[in-house]
Symmetry: C2
């Protein structure tokens, strides 16, 4: 059979992966008809049940859609009025490191945040944060109060060294195992969310002046961490279909002797929404092992993928401790809890030392709350409802963008998550839009904060965290009006081009 | 009058300060009779009520003791069987910076912690942490649960930028004002305890390779922070009576062009227990302003001073933002809450940026819990009971040391706090004691972890955090037995010396 053999994977998963990759790479374009069950059986020499299971897996992943009595079709995540986002050239030469670009990302972010704070924000489409009403606060509060009765001295016990509670460690290790990540409980270390973890990981594997490969575009928090630690970020093109470009990484390794680490968000890359295919994950882990690069995996959005159980973290392929695995419950369980955890792979001990030097022990109550919640049927129900609500909000957002934004706007609808990454018509500036919208009380995230290089002025991140309301609809209308105004003000030849 | 005039201070405070300093400097030795009320009136030209108030102030501070119908006497904190700790020469040349000594403190601390973890510890006299039963966990748990009802979305709200809640800011600013520290509420920043704060302060004011003046001996966490940030610690002698030596700091400034910051614990210095007199504080702040050094004040133990209200932080003398003020509730309210705060003085904005880059927002529930508790009559009652219990435990500890430890053991009883800093007889090693005691299930803190230079092998820190029990008494007996064993094994000429 033509499916590349992967050990440990059942046949139907191998088959599903094969077609998921074909879809991701565009070999099977959106709307295309999938091979029938009979065709799959003949072409790959598999049984009826394997072929059926593969198609159902693809359907759960959101890659294909069943049309009853007709067959399976590749899911069309694009709204027809919108063009698909342009893809970076994965083989384009890696951007040269330029000292000047590494100064100022913190100032830029701070300015953006500060402007947002000072303004009277009526509709916040800038923060990639789910609205509080999407979480199960009643259950959380009930468990939180129960824990205070059950562990009456949890707030006054001081010697919980090394700071991570065994119950939390056990629960996290058990959860990780369900997606193929095998971590010893005692090697689970509690963190203050994910930024803490990524910062510690960078501190453990680099020295001042070292180079860190980041995705481009990337979450601005990574750029802040790199800058505040006096490191240099090398921006590697990231496709909204498959994530970071391995070809560009190859070039980077050849040209950058001080390259030490790669930071990626493999599931629902922030901001472009990419979902890295399994084959790509396997190659990336092997690549980092071969070149002795620390692979820092920020797995904060996996549970927001429409079919998260089928997504295995990079860490699942890690046999040598090359992957530093970072998880947070900030986006899925309780943003106000500030609870995350990490496993530092072969740097775990050094990371523990750094963590202790920086912030000593972590609060135990929050760990117990996470341990008591994660993995329960109630939490699984919450996650299903939560993903459903976010899916609806994403779809509504896409409709609003299609209705209100000017011709030439392009986007790829991500298979889950909290936000849309939108490419504006040529010549239109998201920075101008940011300023104009803020004056109306609408906050957005302009593209330039997702890069050190000032790239992405033509891009915009919109949060889909807010449930739709007349005010949110009004905000999309106003954004559209402002964008149309920018298009009209463009020089004529620019518009024609 | 001979009292140096200090503006803003009432006359009786000036008078009390004058005598407190005389006591601290040894001009009035322990047990000496204070001038009578009449003598004070004549000598300083003050009224009866001013003289009386000054004596009462000194009594509240624990500097003098009233003997009814006899007069006031300088408090004798020493137990008569024990000698007073030797004082460092404040004018001794500052230790030369030696690269080798800056490697390894984290490894040494980690080893110490790890050995403590692996052993079956029956009695922990190593951690300077109050026993959980000394805290008011019932009140904390009640308020904690009430807050979950009152702020039902506190665990699921994500956008509390910049991470510090206004109610927390207001409560902390109000508390600070009571001890003379004027901080705008919006310039109160929540931290994960005090290590977080000191780390952020160091990161904000230094560059790699810069020099930081620390007290010697000092809390090992400071040395860990300095090492993990690739800075160099310069150890400045610290007296157990008056704290850091200004004379040695003067020398350091002259010889060390890369000196950027000074880290001090002005109240109950860890480990030597010093309480810095007001005049010393004023000089230190002026000194740092003159030489443009950041003065990082770790004010974690102030409320454990037997008369804490009279202790004004260094920050109270800071008119130019030279002092970075760090507070934690780890030792006074709830060790398991992990809540602290800081004001970064003129570096506050940079510190906020660093904090956001490292750990984003802080948990709000813990902030509300601290804000709701601190400053209430119930909390003041807790603190009074707490200080009383600690005082009793310190006194018992001193008695046990006097009873069991070999001749030649010396210590200064600190005017508050959690621990004793004990000088062992010449030739006796606290590292040897640590290993031997651990084998019996007794954990102590050996002197060498309080310095980069391997100094203080002849010193020992014992925690007084544990209420006395037969097991604690047993532990003191065993420590004494082990120390006597070491003394007996010393070469004869050493014992004679």
């Amino acid at each position: 059979m033509s499916v590349p053999s992967e050990e440990h994977l059942p046949l139907y998963r191998q088959l599903a992966d094969h077609y998921q990759q074909a879809v991701a790479q565009g070999a099977l374009p959106p709307g295309a008809r999938m091979p029938s069950v009979r065709e799959l059986m003949q072409r790959h020499g598999v049984s009826l049940s394997t072929a059926l299971q593969a198609l159902r897996t693809l359907e759960e992943q959101g890659s294909v859609q069943a049309r009853p009595r007709v067959g399976y079709f590749v899911q069309d995540h694009r709204v027809h009025l919108l063009g698909h986002s342009s893809e970076p050239d994965p083989r384009c030469p890696v951007q040269q490191i330029d000292g000047a670009q590494f100064a100022g990302i913190n100032e830029r972010i701070s300015l953006w945040l500060e402007q947002g704070r000072r303004a009277q924000v009526r509709v916040d489409l800038g923060a990639a944060m789910p609205a509080p009403e999407l979480f199960d606060h009643l259950t959380l509060n009930r468990i939180g109060a129960a824990l205070l009765r059950e562990f009456p001295d949890v707030l006054v016990l001081g010697n919980s060294r090394p700071g991570t509670h065994p119950l939390f460690q056990a629960a996290m290790a058990r959860q990780a195992l369900e997606v193929g990540v095998s971590v010893a409980p005692q090697e689970v270390m509690a963190t203050l969310g994910n930024s803490d973890a990524v910062n510690l990981a960078l501190a453990a594997v680099t020295e001042r002046g070292d180079v860190v490969a980041v995705e481009s575009p990337t979450f601005y928090g990574v750029l802040q961490a790199v800058e505040t630690q006096n490191l240099r970020a090398l921006e590697i093109p990231s496709s909204s279909r498959t994530g970071i470009s391995l070809e560009a990484l190859e070039l980077a390794v050849q040209n950058e002797p001080r390259l030490r680490a790669v930071v990626v968000v493999p599931h629902l890359q922030m901001p472009n929404g990419a979902l890295m295919p399994d084959s790509h994950k396997e190659r990336l882990v092997a690549f980092c092992r071969r070149h002795d690069l620390a692979l820092i995996e920020d797995d904060i959005y996996r549970e927001l993928v429409d079919a998260p159980v089928l997504q295995r973290p990079l860490k699942a392929w890690d046999e040598t401790g090359q992957v530093i695995y970072c998880v947070s419950f900030n986006k899925t369980l309780a943003p106000g809890l500030r609870q995350g955890w990490m496993n530092g792979g072969r740097w775990h001990e050094r990371i523990q030392i750094l963590k202790f030097a920086r912030t000593r022990n972590m609060q135990v109550w929050a760990q117990l709350l996470a341990a008591r919640t994660v993995g329960t049927p109630a939490h699984e129900r919450h996650l299903r409802r939560f993903r459903g609500a976010l899916r609806l909000q994403r779809e509504r957002s896409v409709q609003m963008v299609a209705r209100h934004f000017p011709q030439g706007t392009r986007l790829s609808v991500p298979p889950g998550g909290l936000s849309l990454w939108i490419e504006l018509p040529a010549g239109v500036s998201s920075m101008v839009l940011f300023e104009q919208a803020l004056a109306l009380g609408i906050r957005v995230a302009p593209g330039p904060i997702f890069s050190n290089s000032g790239r992405y002025e033509g891009f915009l991140r919109l949060s889909c965290g807010l449930p739709f309301s007349p005010e949110v609809e009004w905000a999309y209308g106003e954004l559209g009006r402002l964008l149309h105004g920018q298009v009209r003000a463009l020089p004529a030849q620019r518009q024609a081009a």
